[in-house]
Amino acid sequence: MNFKLILLGLLISISGFGAETESHYTELFDQANTAYKIGQYDSAKAIYSEISETGIVSSALFYNLGNCYFKTGSVANAILNYERALRLSPDDEDVIYNLEIANSRITDKVDAIEPFFITQWWQNAALSLHPDTWAWISLFFILSLVAVLSLFILGREPSHKKLGFLGSIVMFIFFGLSYAFGSTALNWKNRKEAIIFAPTVNVKSEPTNKSTDQFVLHEGVKVIVLAQDADWLRIRLNDGNSGWVPRQSTETI
């Protein structure tokens, strides 16, 4: 009874996006695109922002909004929106390209540390699927695991038992892998990152104004948020340097 309810809820949450409101937003989206085409970047920006403020997320929406900001000279905002778009579609070539150009316009050049090749491979594999897809795959493997485990537990013939035992181990490994890939993908999707918005900000060694300045960051740099303490964020750059910055000088992606 309970399980049926849960399954029902799941189905609704996956498939149900109010179709009647979508057409209204698509209209707005087209309006903004027209404004962009004729060079009215400010009005295009206003309409895109209006759509995104209703809680609608879309890689294309953020990408277009980022373009508007770039055209009006606000590189930090452009980077913020490209990064948001990239989260929704990590493989989108246009987003990656424009983000690269926006990043070339900012002051700080952060050289990312080249990750270990196994880490890189793992990341690529995990990000190839949506975390929810990994979730369903892992559920499938659990089902398979139960099935082959039945063979082991209930089988009368020694050969059946052997087959069931080996099959259980394989299925268990498959389940673990899909779960781990899903976790990586989910962490990547939920990772906390921020863009520096203050023209220049001193990165401190401690979350107080009096502590030592470690290095200086400028508008538009992407940082990883590690922790938060009152109005301070502990951040790390892609090159491994970390420190504290005031929260109001950043904007979370």
Binding site: L10, F29, I101, L145, P199, F215
Partner: protein
């Protein structure tokens, strides 16, 4: 009373130009005071003739900006008689106080004295000398002291030459005396001296311990009255000139080290009394515009030696070396003035920047403590420059940058915007965990049911096996006796059956008989056929003693008994 006593020496002095005169010789008597508006009562004089006076004169001197006035009453006198001439005390009275000068006795010789010259030459060291004054003999290291050399002259000076003392262990700065050539008159032992300041030096001790201030030596050419030759041709006195060498005293200065307790970390040797200010010419500006920051030290002390302020400018500021300006004057109270540092700073990026306050730690010798000054913090509001590419100055574009800057971003996406509410993810939610637990739970329950069913099946086959076992156990004695005499074998069969029944029906072996066996078995729903078989077997065991022919053979009997027990086991 005591006050007025000590006041005599300071405020009312009397002196004569000569203490030994010949009869008829002229000399001057002077009274000197700094009190204005006092009443002067002339002294009583014996054996003296007043040729001129009382002559009043007033003079004023500026010393270190302090104006001091002095009043002089002078007489020109002539001795009348040989012997002693006495000048009684003169009186100076103000509203509140009365001062008396000392009485002066003058020896009057008969005409020219023959030994006067010798005496005068002998006394040259008391009439012509240099004195060294030091205003503080116990300074701290770095605390400025002022050394003053003064020449005291009671004779006429014709010419002089002097050396320049070397001040070992001191940083010496001469005070320019050209503007304030102080010549004054002082009375010592009622003798009038002309006093001139030769040299004034500001000395800054560079190390602790006992240091010496060197004496100033001078070659003097002095004109003396040549009394041995008496009056000259026209009755004028005759003179001779003498060369003498005089040297001032030496002063020992005991220089105290600066206290080590409470010494600030940034202390850099500044000793004195200072003020500090830091100013910018504007606080609101655009990025890449210059702003002037002026740090000014002022006060007195070793201001000349103050070093450049230590500044930690925000990292993105371009700062040029400061222009240093000094306006320091050396005078009798040491060095005082201003030292300014002018910085030109250019913020390269927008934002609000707080310039760290400038700090100056110094030692204040008057209180014997260290003090730290801190300027007011300065906040600069830097607006973003007019062109947003203000970073270009700071970060010259490389070849690669130019390449990328030449390209533009790609066009917007116009199709398939895939507008969707931000989805809540499914992985790792409660639902996910419930769904993953579902097959495990169902599978577990399924296995449990299957395994329970199988166990029941196994149990049944196991009970029948066990029943056979029970029969075997009871019949084991009979099995062993199968090759023995008939009676013992059948006896054993009989005992086995009775023993089994006794166990199974829970009836004592002694009370067990055919009747209660049959009724008990019937009550337990044992089939009639089995009861008949049992009865028959028991009968045969009884009959074997007297009718062995009707009884079944041993093997047959054993098998039959076994079967009976197994069947009973099943049915009971």
């Amino acid at each position: 009373m005591l006050v007025s006593m000590t006041s005599i020496a300071q405020n009312f002095e009397a002196g004569v130009s000569k203490k030994q005169v010949a009869v008829g010789e002229r000399f001057t008597l002077e009274y000197k005071t700094e009190l204005a508006g006092a009443n002067f009562t002339p002294p009583n004089m014996q054996n003296l003739q007043v040729l001129s006076g009382p002559n009043m004169s007033e003079s004023s001197i500026n010393i270190n900006g302090k104006r001091s006035r002095s009043f002089t009453v002078s007489y020109v006198l002539r001795a009348l008689k040989e012997g002693e001439a006495k000048i009684g005390p003169a009186t100076l009275s103000t509203k509140n106080e009365t001062f008396n000068s000392e009485a002066i006795t003058i020896k009057v010789a008969k005409q020219a004295q023959s030994n006067a010259q010798a005496q005068g030459e002998n006394d040259l060291s008391t009439t012509m000398f240099i004195k060294l004054f030091v205003d503080d003999k116990n300074p701290y290291v770095g605390e400025q002291i002022v050394a003053t050399y003064k020449i005291y002259m009671a004779e006429q000076l014709v010419n002089y030459s002097s050396n320049n003392p070397v001040f070992n262990g001191f940083y010496a700065q001469n005070i320019d005396l050209s503007n304030s050539n102080e010549v004054s008159k002082e009375f010592i032992n009622n003798r009038q001296f002309t006093v001139a300041t030769l040299k004034k030096v500001i000395l800054t001790p560079q190390k602790s311990g006992t240091l010496e201030v060197d004496p100033l030596e001078m070659e003097l050419r002095v004109r003396l009255q040549d009394k041995s030759r008496g009056r000259g041709f026209f009755g004028f006195p005759s003179y001779k000139e003498v060369n003498i060498t005089v040297a001032s005293n030496t002063e020992k200065i005991n220089v105290k080290p600066l206290p080590s307790s409470g010494q600030p970390a940034d202390f850099d040797g500044a000793v004195g009394n200072f003020t500090l200010s830091a100013k910018v010419d504007r606080t609101d500006l655009n990025a890449n515009e210059a702003v002037n920051l002026t740090v000014m030290y002022s006060g007195n002390g070793n201001i000349e030696l103050l070093s450049e302020p230590k500044f930690n400018f925000p990292a993105d500021f371009e700062v040029y070396d400061p222009k240093v300006r000094k306006n320091i004057s050396n005078n009798g109270s040491g060095s005082s003035g201003k030292k300014t540092f002018e910085y030109v700073i250019i913020p390269r990026f927008g934002g609000d920047f707080e310039l760290e306050p400038v700090k100056l730690s110094y030692f204040d010798p008057s209180s014997g403590k260290y003090k730290t000054l801190e300027s007011e913090p300065i906040t600069l509001h830097v607006a973003k420059g007019a062109n947003s590419a203000d970073a270009a100055v700071y970060n010259p574009t490389s070849k690669e940058d130019v390449q990328i800057l030449g390209k533009d971003i790609r066009f917007i996406k116009t199709e398939n915007p895939d507008l969707a509410r931000s989805e809540s993810s499914f992985f790792k939610t409660q639902n996910y965990y419930l769904l993953s637990a579902l097959p495990v739970g169902l599978g577990g329950a399924f296995w449990m049911i299957i395994l329970l069913l199988r166990r029941k099946e196994q149990d049944q086959s196991l009970t029948s096996k066990r029943a056979g076992g029970v029969a075997k156990k009871h019949l084991v004695k009979a099995t062993k006796l199968i090759n023995d005499k008939n009676e013992a074998f059948y006896e054993a069969i009989s005992k086995a059956l009775f023993g089994y029944l006794s166990d199974k029906l829970s009836i004592n072996l002694a009370e067990l008989n055919r009747e209660n066996i049959e009724s008990e078995l019937k009550a337990k729903n044992v089939s009639q056929v089995l009861i008949a078989q049992l009865t028959k077997a028991l009968d045969e065991c009884d009959m074997v003693r007297f009718a062995p022919g009707v009884v079944r053979g041993k093997e047959e009997m054993l098998a039959a008994s076994k079967e009976i027990i197994e069947k009973l086991e099943d049915e009971l």
